[in-house]
């Protein structure tokens, strides 16, 4: 194993970097998209509500692999995008559906009195949302969002299918050159845990803290 690390350390670290980059881009993108669709869903009009529901349900119920492959095989023929970009787009869209559900749950967790109070004081629907409901909703939403980020990092391994240079891809490359199908996966597993374990422990701590505060 030491031999592998000294020979291919750079490759492992490159993969680590790409995995992290893809996850962070997808997190930011899916936060924006997810929050947007959560807000669209709670608009008290049927048309936007059902558009948002359709978006969420479709993306949530299709495997990430199928979405990613669609971008890699179909969309890359129209726009020139490589595996990393199509993987990250797939990740962003897929995760945004889950984040939309999370944020929506957070919005519903805010007592209705808050919304009514805002409206009664003359704020418009959007002002109430932006200044009163959303800031409180995000308090409930942070632990589940952290868990979504952990899922995102894990799901980014799908990039290996589309040559996205990530950790999993590097592990496959290294195991193909060295004929060692054991140790590269152990090393890559440890590298994944380096990202995901601290986040999930911190989120558990936050959840406990939030539960204690009531």
């Amino acid at each position: 194993m030491m031999h592998l690390i000294s020979m291919y350390g750079v490759d492992f670290l490159t993969g680590f970097g790409w995995t992290l980059l893809s996850s962070v881009i997808a997190l930011v993108g899916s936060l924006i998209l997810g929050t947007l669709f959560a807000i669209i869903e709670v608009i008290p009009r049927p048309v936007p509500h059902y558009i948002a529901r359709l978006y969420i349900e479709v993306l949530r119920n299709i495997p990430l692999l199928v979405i990613t492959m669609f971008f890699y095989i179909v969309v890359s023929g129209i726009f020139k995008i490589n595996g990393f970009v199509s993987g990250t787009i797939g990740l962003t869209l897929y995760t945004s559906a889950f984040i939309a559900e999370t944020v929506k749950a957070g919005i519903y967790a805010v007592p209705t009195g808050q919304y009514e109070g805002g409206r009664a004081n003359g704020l418009s629907w959007w002002e109430t949302m932006r200044m009163i409901v959303l800031p409180q909703a995000f308090k409930y939403v942070i632990p589940p969002l952290g868990n979504q980020f952990v899922n995102l990092v894990k799901n980014s391994s799908v990039l290996a299918f589309v040559a996205g240079f990530d950790l999993m891809y590097q592990a496959n490359q290294i195991s193909q050159t060295t004929f060692d199908t054991f140790n590269p996966y152990i090393i890559v597993g440890i590298l994944y845990l380096v990202i995901t374990l601290p986040i999930s422990y911190y989120m558990r701590y936050l959840e406990d803290k939030l539960a204690r505060e009531g």
Partner: protein
């Protein structure tokens, strides 16, 4: 339009449906096995047995934080090195069971913890042992709360089965690839059909889950 009609010929569709059946079977067997494993692990973690619970907890956290794809790879390519060999379908089920039991263990533990404390205190002060309290009082109440998360885990298992394409499990995504590899014109129709079939399968499942959940509450 002609491409679509050709792509959705009965031969292709039957080929895809066979893949769908593989997907459902693998996901179903995995969810049953991981429900059993997850319940055992979750209860061990809940029971706070010195050292054992801690070790099980660590194991659960490690598995939960690894990508499923890595675990599938590991069971298929790495475990033969230490003398454990499965067929393609066997290693998919094995990998998904390992991954999913860690997920379900947390759900089981969460369910048991969420039962009000008075329930277990009442049972214990009425003379039930720890095991009896768990079996007769806590678990029945916990399992009711666990139905929605378990259904959503089943849905994610069905989606995750597509990852086994990489070890050539003949499920839906893999079969779609075979079809469009023969005729590049069928790429778009195949992707649409794939998305449609997965959507219908998972959407119906989650609706069934919601119905069961409502019945149980009433």
């Amino acid at each position: 339009m002609n491409d679509f009609i050709q792509a959705y010929s009965w031969i292709n569709m039957r080929f895809l449906f066979e893949g769908m059946w593989v997907t459902v079977q693998v996901a179903f067997v995995s969810v049953i096995l991981s429900f059993i494993m997850g319940s055992i692990l979750g209860i061990i973690r809940y029971a706070k047995i010195p050292y054992v619970s801690w070790a099980v907890g660590l194991l659960i956290d490690l598995i939960r934080n690894l990508p499923l794809l890595l675990i599938i790879f590991f069971t298929y390519f790495a475990l033969p090195h230490i003398g454990v060999q499965f067929s393609v379908i066997g290693s998919t089920i094995f990998a998904m069971t390992i991954f999913e039991s860690a997920m379900l263990a947390e759900i089981v533990r969460g369910g048991v913890v969420s039962v009000p404390k008075g329930q277990s205190e009442g049972a214990r002060s009425n003379g039930l042992s720890f095991g009896q309290t768990l079996w007769y009082i806590l678990l029945p109440q916990a399992y009711k709360k666990m139905i929605p998360p378990i259904v959503s885990q089943f849905v994610s298992l069905i989606k995750d089965t597509s990852l086994a394409t990489i070890i050539m499990l003949p499920e839906m995504t893999y079969r779609a690839q075979i079809i469009y590899a023969q005729n590049p014109k069928q790429i778009v129709p195949m992707f649409l059909m794939l998305a449609f079939l997965y959507f219908v399968l998972n959407y119906c499942l989650s609706k069934v889950g919601q119905v069961i959940d409502k019945r149980m509450v009433v």
